[in-house]
Symmetry: C2
Subunit: 558 residues, 2 copies
């Protein structure tokens, strides 16, 4: 049982996260262990992945806070057991087993983990769990579910941030296309962790304190059929005075813009912009004089949306309000953003700063089917976009919608277990291991190295042989200037969550940024990044290969 | 307000499905409508998609039950409003607006929908919502979120069923790789709807009454280090007699198998199969003598797993139990399944039916990275697989992880709205519409046709001109033998959910099967399927094009 004073985390926001949120075979295995009297053998499992996603060379670890919530609350209720008994699977199980299930919790389990938000690499465990065989086995599926998507999404977000640059504002807009409700809400959370600035998802904003952002849709513009749809024309100016007819002021500005038509560098008939769109912008500005951001592509950006925006922005300015900006949701975003910026500069120049001060500095948001590659291409071709709204590609991780984390047994009762495979990438590294990140003098991460538990900790200034786990010829001596242990004991059996562990989203977000900053640029670059080295100590290398030899399979048939 | 006797559905299982599970811009738009006095204008929105997923020519509509739960419970709570007020977005809103939000529900909204589980096609609305502009706008994002993934997943499942054939058992194994908890649970639900037989996900089994299935993992085998790990050797036979040492019986069977070694068609050293694996199978059989299904590829299928399985199966048989089967989780599934079946047949033949009756009829399950294309290839190359466990590709819809449902305004206060676009595929079909599926004499679906509300219903035996909505030359006369209306009024304002509507999962699952059966084979085939025709009536065609002309944009700049 958990200690009375154990630090436990509250239940997961999703009521579906129960002990039954698992694969049936975890329960059948638990039963077989129990029936066989081996359920209490001391097992060590590791949760890790074999390849970085998105053809990249790094991954951001996320989902730890949710995983620990699950571990904190792990138990089988009477209701769970009743359900199990009612299934054909449960019919094959003895009643005493259900009693056993009802008594289970994670008080005999220890969880070691890398830090949430940190950069992680293939084969180095994200989590190591130690405890009774049946219990630790029962945790597998849920932990994988909670870590896989969280880490995939955080990595995807971090990759978008890298290619967009630190100054761009990145907005997560994916709820409508997410894989289920939780897919949407988790996406907002882990996009923020990975470096996004805000989400459109209000519920996620509430759950996790993420800034929320949004303006209006095409339907808002379409719902307006001319000026008849603007029913409340009065606007209180910033200084408290009242403008009785804001639409009239907008039309006046439209005329002043038409007057400079000949000096503009585009051939534009101001009188032929879409009136319904102008009415929609006007009504929106009436509602949000302080936060006027207009979607300008419902009809035609350069011939209608942008001119209409300018008229409203100038009217707002006359009343002491600064327009926020425009949003582009279609077309060639590089071209349209540059043309839009030039157009705004032109007006500012022609009308003078008194009338159009800062008009050209408004924010340009782009939001049509944007993904990493689009951001990369925009960077190549130049653009004038300040903020990107990114949806489908981000939240569904369209480029690679699953991270292949696995959960492998590495030790039972102190005896190491190795999983062999004809595919060398699938051979597991046996036994309980420690892990360290070694840094160069300039503070760059050089290598992650795994050692056997009990080996001395790598020392600053002392050279250490780092070996590829499977390829004999790949090895190098490293003299670290800093050594950071990778694993923390985050869940300590009956004592619960280590009180030192800070699981807040803001901390993980800051850690993600810092952890990526410590990587060499060639590991991070978009095209053909260099793999970061993951190695084992000489002692662990020998251990792996001795065990491999001992467990060599019988002759191959083909 | 909803009527006292209104049929409402219970809250969604996920507590995150609130009125705030939406994009911020829905709230800013709602505010702007309210501020502008246009929030009560009568709007019609349609939810539809523009292209079938997975390079296919059909989609299965799913998510309606969840959507109606959301509509049933749609309301802003004090807590929601408090959160909104605390955000920068809410700071720009007047207090009276929050009062307005607190009074909102779906009692003035009508929802028309196609039937859950039925086959649907591009541009024909899945849902049509009518009601106050601000209210119906506020429902958008959540409805999209609930319908998009559900329909995508059900379609993916149905496609797997089509290529696997009606006799294969299809098992959803995707929880660990799903995009979040809900992604996993929804995947199980909609995979079942689309034609899967069972899930590994126990929680989904409980929530939706889906059969659960599972056996054991590699870790179970690995956790055994020799016979020392089998601590409880006693097994009660089917007739109630007791076998005191089941492992000894297994070893005896192993010897009897070794005796026929020279007559087997493979060169197999029975004494060299992996002992730990044999011990693991034995302990698993001790736990599940009635349900023994062994994962046979931990070491080597043909040299170890399969022979070990046979020894245990024969021992079980002697005690009156029939082994269920084997699972293959790696390698060439076509080859291994055929070799395995031949091996089992061989033993059955050599030992005779008295000892090995039905051994060759055990089930072969395959479960390694299976997807539609693998199933297609297996069908081409032949196989002996009875059941497929399908995970990542199914639940993340790896081939296309998002369905692009959109939600478009088509009418305000009785005035049709059209959304134009340079991309003809993105032009919306304006106005409130009806839809019908026309069938041939043989019961095949020929065409879906949309008409204007108020037009006569297409009549059986009467020819009707069906036109492509945008291409003048594409049109044909159809004489239907059966006419099925596509839309039902499922949510009738204050009266709630139509009591006639059966939203049960089993009904939707049966409907899916039947609805696919009504399609011609060429629409369903895996390679280059023929598009199913979606058309409009002559009257609707003229209406679209008149409106298009009237709203033609000002001249193009590029």
């Amino acid at each position: 049982m958990l200690d009375a004073g154990a630090r436990r985390l509250g239940r997961c926001h999703n009521a579906l996260v129960t002990a039954l949120l698992t694969d049936t075979y975890q329960l059948t295995m638990a039963y077989a262990y129990w029936r066989n009297g081996t359920h209490d053998r001391r097992a060590v499992f590791e949760l890790f992945f074999r390849a970085n996603p998105f053809q990249g060379e790094f991954t951001v670890f996320a989902g730890l806070e949710e995983a620990l919530r699950f571990v904190s609350n792990f138990e089988f209720t009477e209701r769970d057991v009743e359900y199990l008994k009612s299934t054909p699977v449960g019919e094959n199980m003895e009643d005493e087993f259900f009693e056993f299930l009802l008594g289970l919790d994670a008080s005999e389990v220890r969880v070691y983990a890398q830090k949430e938000g940190s950069v992680v690499f293939p084969r180095v465990p994200l989590l190591r769990l130690e405890g009774p065989l049946a219990t630790v086995q029962l945790l597998e599926t849920t932990l994988l579910c909670l870590v896989n998507y969280a880490s995939l999404l955080a990595t995807n977000a971090a990759r978008h941030r890298l290619v967009a640059g630190q100054n761009a504002m990145l907005l997560e807009f994916g709820l409508r296309r997410a894989q289920g409700v939780d897919g949407g809400v988790s996406a907002s959370r882990y996009a923020y962790l990975g470096g996004f600035d805000a989400t459109s998802n209000v519920e996620a904003g509430r759950q996790f304190g993420i800034p929320i952002k949004g303006t209006h849709a095409h339907s808002y513009v379409q719902s307006h059929a001319g000026w008849g749809c603007v029913k409340n024309p009065k606007l209180v100016a910033a200084d408290g005075s009242v403008c009785e007819d804001f639409p009239a002021l907008v039309l006046e500005k439209m005329k002043s813009l038409e007057a400079i038509r000949d000096d503009m560098e585009v051939d534009l008939r101001w009188s032929e912009t879409n009136t319904s769109e102008l009415a929609a912008f006007t009504s929106y500005a009436l509602a949000f004089p302080n936060a006027f951001l207009a979607l300008v592509d419902t009809y035609n950006v350069l011939q209608s949306g942008l001119p209409n925006f300018c008229a409203v922005a100038l009217a707002l300015r006359e009343l002491g309000y600064a327009a926020v900006g425009i949003r582009l949701d279609s077309g060639d975003l590089s071209y349209l953003s540059k043309r839009s910026r030039a157009f705004l500069r032109n007006i500012e120049r022609l009308l003078g700063t008194k009338i159009a001060d800062n008009l050209s500095a408004v924010s340009i948001t782009a939001s049509n089917d944007i993904h990493e590659e689009v951001l990369y291409s925009l960077r190549q071709h130049g653009h004038e976009i300040d903020a990107f709204g990114i949806g489908t590609h981000l939240v569904t991780c369209l480029k690679q919608p699953a991270l292949g984390c696995v959960y492998k047994l590495v030790e039972v009762d102190g005896t190491p277990r190795i999983k062999l495979s004809e595919d060398i990438g699938k051979v597991t590294i046996p036994g309980c291991k420690n892990g360290y990140r070694l840094f160069s003098q300039t503070g760059e991460a050089i290598v992650d190295v795994m050692t056997r538990v009990g080996e001395p900790v790598p020392k600053v200034g002392e050279r250490m042989l780092c070996r590829h786990p499977f390829m004999e010829s790949k090895r190098a001596y490293v003299v670290p200037s800093k050594v950071a242990p990778l694993f923390d004991l985050v869940w300590d059996g009956a004592r619960g969550v280590d009180p030192q562990v800070d699981l807040s989203l803001e901390t993980s977000r800051a850690r993600c940024k810092e952890s990526i900053r410590q990587l060499r640029a060639d590991h991070l670059r978009y095209t053909n990044p260099t793999p970061y080295k993951v190695s084992v100590s000489a002692s662990l290398y020998d251990f792996i290969h001795d065990l491999w030899l001992a467990e060599a399979p019988v002759g191959e048939l083909r």
